[in-house]
């Protein structure tokens, strides 16, 4: 008799723990050919709120860590991912319908992307900040600081490389994130959450909700303790244009910074540039007199 396999219902990742959805709901996740793979937790409004609380709680500690330390923590995530390559390749293969070698290339790219962003932690300040030569006897310095809690709607198509490319630039600079994964392809995000939990990322820095952006995002967009929105997960779907506008209108209530969705999902293999980081940075300028 062949062995009966143990099927996994994946869970959410909030505050460093893996709760089931408060709603009790889950949904069936199929592979690219429509075959059932697993059940995933269907995040609710309450889960989104819990995730915001966790992200806010983590912000003070994470944003005041040294940049060197944040770089180390992100690099460690890349190390652990590398270790679990077979699992990621399988997840990407199933989710995106790629063959083994293409899926492997996606995973390679995702790990390398993390390494790339990890290195930015202690360089972004130097590249985006500067001293200002004011016309008077004053020391004057402008430096970037993280915006706060960022809600990230992760890309719908690129379930791992896109996810990593949307999340890493947010947290490497000291923000904390509430991430809504791809709805149809959530499982690479679930595995990524397990990597985060077993590396050195403090609980609450990245929170991952599986489920529907259309359901959860309005609660995040109107949440007064969320500081910014990354809407890239709405890219490439004209039917979601009205939702994008609705989210931006809701975000205006506390003047969240909104990174709008492009018309089509970006080519995630291209050079990301700085924009995904700088969209969630504030510039602080400090003055002090010079004198004897």
């Amino acid at each position: 008799m062949s062995r009966i396999d143990v099927r996994k219902t994946s869970k959410l990742y909030i505050g460093g723990a893996f709760p089931r959805s408060e709603s009790g709901y889950s949904y069936a996740v199929n592979d690219a050919r429509g075959r059932f793979v697993a059940n995933a937790a269907l995040a609710s409004r309450k889960d989104a709120r819990d995730a915001v609380v966790a992200a806010r709680k983590a912000f003070g500690g994470w944003s005041t860590r040294t940049a060197y330390n944040r770089a180390q923590v992100l690099y460690r995530v890349a190390e652990v991912m590398e270790d679990r390559r077979p699992q990621f390749v399988e997840a990407v293969r199933q989710a995106e319908g790629l063959n083994e070698s293409r899926a492997a290339r996606v995973v390679d790219e995702a790990v390398d992307r993390l390494v790339w962003y990890a290195g930015w932690a202690d360089k972004i300040t130097q590249v985006t900040g500067n001293a200002n030569p004011v016309a008077g006897p004053f020391f004057n310095l402008s430096t970037p600081e993280p915006t706060g809690v960022v809600a990230v709607l992760a890309p719908q198509a690129s379930s791992l490389l896109g996810l990593v490319s949307a999340v890493a630039p947010v947290v490497v600079t000291g923000n904390t994130a509430v991430v809504v994964s791809s709805y149809d392809r959530p499982l690479p995000a679930v595995t990524f959450a397990e990597v985060l939990a077993t590396s050195d990322v403090p609980g609450g820095v990245v929170n991952i909700l599986t489920g529907s952006a259309a359901t959860i995002a309005p609660w995040l967009a109107s949440h007064m303790d969320v500081n910014a929105l990354e809407l890239v997960g709405l890219a490439g779907d004209a039917a979601l244009a009205a939702l994008a506008t609705e989210l931006e209108v809701a975000a205006a209530e506390n003047l969240k910074r909104v990174r709008r969705a492009p018309a089509a999902e970006p080519d995630w293999t291209a050079d990301p540039g700085l924009a995904a980081m700088t969209a969630f940075l504030e510039t602080k300028t400090v003055w002090h007199p010079i004198g004897v």
């Binding site: 205006a252 209530e253 003047l255 540039g273 700085l274 510039t283 003055w287 002090h288």
Partner: protein
């Protein structure tokens, strides 16, 4: 109307600046495509807030006028200003900067007449900073590829500015926009249009190509029409957080790029080792500069408990020497409140504040004779204020200071950051490590340590949270007007 010293210690003879230098026309049109044209809306009056005298009748731009201005700006962008090499654009901006210096006296007097601010401030702060801003950004026009933000302009910018620093806010908007190759349609505030209209004449004097700068006057409806116009690529706004929110909603779902410089409720934090006299000067400058009509005003004084009595006593003594009166008098410290509407708002919040602190503290202002005509409010402070009070949470935008105390640096940080705003903050202490600790932890876009209310064209300005987004000034200020290096 001699400025009245609130203390009788010194009597000064009147020292009024001459009005002869300005020539205010009976009426003004809109400045569109290089010339003054009639507006199709209902014209309105601008008054001198110190005397309530009607200064001029100003055209109101209706939707059709807005459309005409945006189209003129688009033509000028596509045909002239966009294709022009940066080094040629630079020379126009240098010309404008030089003319502003040459006509500085005229601009300063006109600003004080229309706005009510003391001539000492318009002459020594506003106008020199305006010229410096144009000089600074003129130099960027042919160096954009080194900025880190690319060198491609956005197109046409719609810009809406407030009444507190009419000409300076115009400079903050127009200088970087033009340097980057954009053209602009700018709407000055309805109570202070005159220096913007004089600036339009300066553009003519500089032979700036028609349509590069368009100035349309009007109130909220004109501003809304401009922000909503599909022909603009960029909205830049300085003003209240409520209007900023409305603009953020209005542009939702568009590709318009937005920068918002909104309200504030800055904490000015005085530690027990601060040099008290300097700190008191900083507190006074922080809240009474420009009648407190300053978005980054230090409107919440957080003073360490052990020195609170001493600081308060010296602050009151200093406030008693402030001279309130004729904005054109060179000895005036505090001018007129810009409008009857703003005065009503300041009075209302102050009355609320008086009720809030009753029993725990006081509402205090030095004995101060207010002129019989015009809009005036004495420098005022409230003690016994708690964080829950409206007077500690809402932006008064007037010469009104709330005084709170704290014991530890951690408590000061917590109180300072306990606001939805995040524009500026002040720290006063002799301890360097404490300054840097506070500067790190204050969630504000500008931190002034052992100084306050300093501005410079090279220094980025702008807020966190509900104080808006984007920066004006410095290299960072270019980002608002360039497409960036991303595809």
């Amino acid at each position: 109307m001699t400025p009245t010293p609130t203390s009788r210690a010194f009597e000064y003879a009147p020292a009024p600046e001459s009005r002869a230098v300005v020539d205010i026309k009976a009426s003004y049109g809109l400045f569109i495509d290089g010339e003054f044209v009639d507006g199709r809306g209902t014209s309105f009056k601008t008054v001198n807030p110190a005397t309530e005298e009607v200064l001029s009748e100003v055209a109101e731009a209706n939707d059709a006028d807005v459309d005409r201005a945006v189209k003129a700006a688009r033509r000028a962008h596509d045909r002239v200003w966009g294709p022009m090499p940066g080094r040629e654009r630079a020379k126009y901006l240098y010309r404008i900067a030089r003319i502003i210096q040459e006509r500085g006296r005229e601009l300063a007097v006109l600003e004080s007449i229309d706005n009510g601010k003391p001539i000492r401030e318009s002459r020594d702060v506003d106008v020199p900073t305006v010229a410096a801003h144009f000089f600074y950004y003129a130099g960027w026009a042919d160096k954009l590829e080194y900025s880190g933000y690319g060198s491609t302009p956005l197109g046409v910018a719609g810009q809406v500015i407030p009444w507190n620093f009419p000409l300076l806010m115009l400079a903050w908007k127009i200088a970087p926009a033009l340097a980057c190759g954009n053209t602009v349609v700018l709407k000055p505030a309805e109570t202070t249009p005159l220096t913007a209209l004089l600036f339009a004449e300066i553009c003519q004097q500089a032979d700036l190509p028609p349509g590069v700068v368009n100035i349309i006057t009007g109130a909220g409806d004109t501003g809304r029409a401009l922000v909503a116009h599909p022909g603009i690529d960029k909205v830049a706004f300085t003003g209240s957080t409520d209007v900023g929110r409305a603009i953020a909603r209005q542009v939702a779902g568009t590709t318009k790029k937005v920068t918002l410089e909104l309200g504030g409720k800055a904490a000015n934090i005085v530690f027990d080792d601060a040099p008290v006299d300097q700190a008191v000067e900083g507190i006074v400058n922080g809240i009474f500069f420009n009648q407190g009509h300053v978005c980054c005003a230090g409107s919440r004084l957080l003073v360490q408990e052990s020195v609170a009595d001493e600081v308060l006593e010296r602050l009151k003594r200093r406030m008693s020497t402030l001279r309130l009166g004729d904005p054109l008098d060179k000895n005036t410290d505090i001018g007129a409140i810009n409008s009857a509407e703003q005065l009503a708002k300041i009075r209302e919040l102050s009355e609320i504040g008086e009720r809030e602190v009753s029993g725990a503290g006081e509402r205090w202002a030095p004995p101060c004779e207010l002129p019989a005509t015009g809009y005036w409010f004495p420098p005022t402070l409230f003690t016994g204020v708690t964080q829950a009070h409206r007077i500690a949470r809402e932006e008064v935008f007037g010469p009104v200071l709330s005084v709170l105390t704290f014991r530890t640096p951690a408590e000061a940080v917590e109180k300072a950051n306990n606001t939805p705003y995040g524009l500026s903050a002040g720290v006063w202490t002799d301890k360097g490590s404490l300054i840097l600790h506070m500067a790190n932890r204050l969630r504000a876009g500008v931190v002034w340590a052992n100084t306050f209310n300093k501005f410079d064209p090279t220094s980025p300005f702008g807020g966190y949270q509900e104080s808006g987004y984007g920066r004006e000034g410095g290299r960072h200020g270019l980002e608002a007007y360039l497409k960036g290096t991303q595809a």
